[in-house]
């Protein structure tokens, strides 16, 4: 590739996201310090599989950052009507009603019961436990279940829907002439199926020396032979898109059914007898072995029994309903895996790109 910028190990795509001013600044920089600065202006892929702990560490970092900002920085910007507020921040703030809503849902069932008379409080406690657990199960199952499709797709096709990158935003001055206003956002390379960040996947040394190493790797996973790897990026991009759309569709559809299944399991009788008592347990955190080991064992046993009750309920109708719900969840997951992984256009080439593109590439364009 022709090095247009004079900066080593950089590709032209990385400049597409920059403002002209910043590019010029990078172009005019000559010393190493400036080079480093200019490099740090790029959006960076956060690789998940550098070490065994990377996925956990990175996820914690990203989610922690998003969560804190969702409750603090973004609402402040929003309430001020900041000119720098953007759609990412709006979407990230979506976590707030999700989490608060879950807590409120638990509270609506549990908060008043301590004021009830003893028999009613005891009765409601049984229901409350299950509801609170159901709310938690909903969130957990919704999150985990997406992996049931995403992981096989990643293993077979190499397309990691969750591949994240750190995006630097150069903000406009709010009041006067402040400069160097930079904020970080955590996006996913494939969060948009219309505009994936293809550029970040070029020339990344993690995947190999070649500029299109990532695409070569994916092409091999799609069955291209070594001699067919010329312009592999152009060949696999439509295929990746197609896989992404299907993965997103089925992981979304199945995740809500799995979430419903999780709630269904939480609503079974065995959980009525589990003593949660979170306050006391938190106070006794120093004796965590004595406190949590028996609890986890009790909880695990209740979970196993509840799963069994969910599919083998003594009531015929509940049994059929439970099995249907579970069947739908499993069925959608399997179907999602099959359709996402199977390359239906292996011989004829994918039609996805042409069909979703807004521009007909077969015709000449006029700019006016």
């Amino acid at each position: 590739m022709v090095n247009l910028t004079g900066v080593e190990n950089k590709n032209i795509n990385s400049y597409k996201i920059k403002s002209f001013g910043q590019s010029e600044k990078a172009d005019s920089s000559k010393d190493n310090k400036t080079k480093k600065e200019s490099q740090s202006h790029q959006d960076n892929i956060i690789l998940h599989n550098k070490t065994i702990f990377s996925p956990v560490k990175n996820t914690a970092k990203i989610q922690g950052n998003r969560l804190i900002n969702a409750f603090t920085k973004y609402p402040i910007k929003g309430f001020k009507g900041s000119k720098n507020a953007n759609f990412y921040e709006f979407l990230t703030m979506g976590t707030v009603p999700y989490l608060i809503g879950s807590g409120m849902l638990m509270a609506v069932f549990t908060a008043a019961s301590k004021f009830f008379d003893t028999p009613s409080a005891q009765k409601s406690l049984k229901v409350n436990k299950k509801v609170a657990l159901g709310v938690a199960a909903y969130g957990v199952m919704k999150t985990i279940s997406k992996k049931f499709i995403q992981i096989p797709v990643k293993l077979v096709r190499g397309v990691d829907e969750n591949l994240a990158y750190e995006k630097k935003i150069y903000e406009l001055p709010e009041k006067g002439n402040e400069d160097n206003l930079i904020s970080k956002e955590y996006h996913k390379i494939f969060e948009s199926v219309d505009f994936p960040r293809w550029d970040l996947l070029y020339g990344d040394s993690y995947y190999g020396k070649e500029r299109t190493a990532f695409y070569n790797k994916i092409a091999k996973k799609y069955g291209f032979k070594d001699e067919e790897l010329e312009q592999a990026d152009q060949k696999v991009k439509p295929k990746i898109k197609e896989t992404l759309i299907k993965t997103k569709l089925f992981s979304t559809l199945s995740s809500y059914i799995w979430a419903a299944t999780g709630v269904g399991i939480a609503m079974q009788k065995p959980f009525e007898n589990v003593i949660f008592n979170p306050k006391t347990r938190l106070n006794q955190y120093k004796n965590y072995r004595e406190t949590y080991t028996p609890f986890l064992k009790e909880f695990g046993e209740a979970l196993v029994k509840s799963c069994k009750e969910f599919v083998n309920n003594s009531s015929k109708s509940a049994r059929i309903a439970g099995r249907t719900l579970l069947g739908c969840a499993v069925g959608l997951t399997l179907l999602g895996n099959f359709l996402s992984i199977k390359d239906f256009n292996k011989d004829k080439g994918s039609k996805t790109h042409a069909s979703t593109s807004l521009i007909d590439e077969s015709k000449e364009k006029v700019m006016c």
Partner: protein, 778 residues
Amino acid sequence: MGNVLNSIIINKNVNNTRAGIKKPVFTIDTTGKVKPKEDKAKLLPSRIFGSPVEYVKDLKQDVVNIGRAAKGKANDHELGRINDLAMKLGSLGLAAYLAVKNPLKMSKAMEFVGFTTFFTSMALWPKLTIQAPLKARTGVDIHQKYIDSQGRKKMLYQDPQYVLTDLYSKEDLEKIGDKLGVNKNLPDRDNFIKQRAQKTALQGNTLWMMTAGFATPLMSALMCNRLEKPVNYLIEKLNLRTSQNAFDNNGLYQGFLDKLKQRIANARFNKFISKNMNKPLNTEMVSQLSEEIAGRANSAVYKDAVAQNLSALRKAFTIDNDFVINAVKAKIPASSIEAMNSVQKEALESAIKEGSLSKIAKILAQTTAGGRRQETQKLENTILKLLKRAEATNSQATVGDFANELKSLFEISFDFTTRKNVLDRFISERVGDKSGSYIANQWDRVGNQLMKALKLKGRDLKALSEGNVDLLNDRLISLAHGSNYDSTVEKLMNLINQYEETTGEKSFIQKVQNGAKRICKEVQNNLLKIPEFAGITDVISSEAQKGTLENTINQFAQERVQGAASSFYRLIQTLDLYKRIEQGSIKQQLEELLSKQGQSIEPEKVARLIQACKDIMLKATTTDHVEKLTTTGFNLSKEEYKIVMEVLFGDKAGETIKSALNSSETGPKIMNGFMNYLNSFKENVINWKNGMTPDIQRRVLKDAPNSSNSAIRNNLVGKSIKDYVKDFAQQRSNSLKWLKIFGISMAVLTGVTLAAGLLIGRKSKIEQQAEEESKVNG
């Protein structure tokens, strides 16, 4: 791209003379070229509530999009919409599962109500508290939608960095500007309006995100709470109507599903018979067959009758009796036989012939009483084995011998069961001891009025919910005092009138009796066509015999109606008691009765019996009465029991009410009802005459004390006053506490949100500066 442009621009004529700047003129040859697509984006009408037609259209499009996405052809917008649809579908699936799992119709319905209210709240909250007030005040619809050139519906202000304010017409923009109070003299006013609109929407959307989490569950729960009664009412009406229709059709109407069910059931039973054709009609098979044939009937009487008849068939074919008798005898120790008298020996032989293990064991247990239980047990086991071997080795009846008769019996039973279920449902929806039955709802409805009649309010209810019986006692003392008494009796009387009018108890009982007679007669006639099973008819209906199926059905309905009415009359009776205590007539009567029995008249004893009378009225259940009040809490001796019953249900009972009811038009009717209640109570409970079938006695005496089976506890005397008031108070008190906590929370949240909305859309500093500048410039 540069090359393309160069090739297009064929004549560039730019006059850059210093004398004056002219616009550059480009001549473009567009022959054979394709122009960019025309901009078709437009704003949609600004509405707070969307149209249902649009909703259905969008839904249809979402379904189409799923199909496209499954082929790998969707875009971001479509995938985003699919997420919303999936969330609703998942929640609907969950509601359906929970509804199926829940046995009560009301709870089933509430699962769907919960689902609907949750999504409604999610949509309504921002509309009512943020979008509508902001639109009214500033003219900015923060949820303004537009259609882009590709026909996709989007929110105009979703992305603050990409707001297509150009889509607003000049007039609309002016309107917004006027409402926002943007200075009319500002140069570039439109731009300021757009900026303010954008800022307002951003602030509004942030407020939405920050409050939705609190508001949606709260609003949804409150809506569910408010909808509970109407939903219950609708379900009750629906149940009454459907059960009435089915009853009127005599259960003859069979829809497609009913016919299908019958066909499936017949096929299943025929398969069962074919599979077991050659199997002996032994005890185990009799049990299996009776379950198959009569299991659905929900009647122990019918099922037992079928089992007995099947056993009789088996005996007709069985067996080599001598073999069994000799074998059993050989195993019984000589000492046991020797210890028997002649009657016992005969009984043993007859039991062995019958093959009745329980009878054999009973006889042996009598003769081997004492510490020889183990020996008897051992013997029982040996005999059981012998009987089985005898059954297996000797010729006896097989299922195949009666295959056709059994199939006919199944068909008759299935038809009978279907009709009986219709009748059972007709009864249960009206007077059943279940949540949501008409009688239960009616009690709930009069509950408030009843509490008013007893002058029990907020704090009293709280104390009563915690079981404070003293408060109830004090209140009854005050209600029995002076003019309070007449007015309270009148109020209660009105409630009874109201209750009986709406329940229509007489016509209901008549209907049940006719219905029971009809289906029982029909099944009897059908059964008589199969001589082998004609014996079953005896237990279905018989004028001479009590405890028949027909009697059981009628009795249940009567008990329930009586129980509910008794609850009112019991209140009146209790007031009468308190009045008589106040007048001193109870004390006098007790002293007379004690002296008649030759007992000493100690003041403590009289006081204790007066207290016992109060306690019985307030707390005693049917079980306590059937146990002659020897149960915990009463502990009355036989003599005391007689005295107390005479005081409460004797000739003097209700004498203070007569005078209170005299002035009323409906007084005689109520008094008549009251006297019927007293007499019926005496007959059914105190004297145990008629009506108390062995079955009810067993249930009352054995099942009820150890269980919370309120059907049995309350059928005859109704719920005890203490229990009723306590349950009502608990329910009301809990409901009020819940409503107080979350109602106030919701009100505060709404207030804060509306107040915060007032701070939204203010002028920016730049705008203020521009205004000042424009003033200065004139």
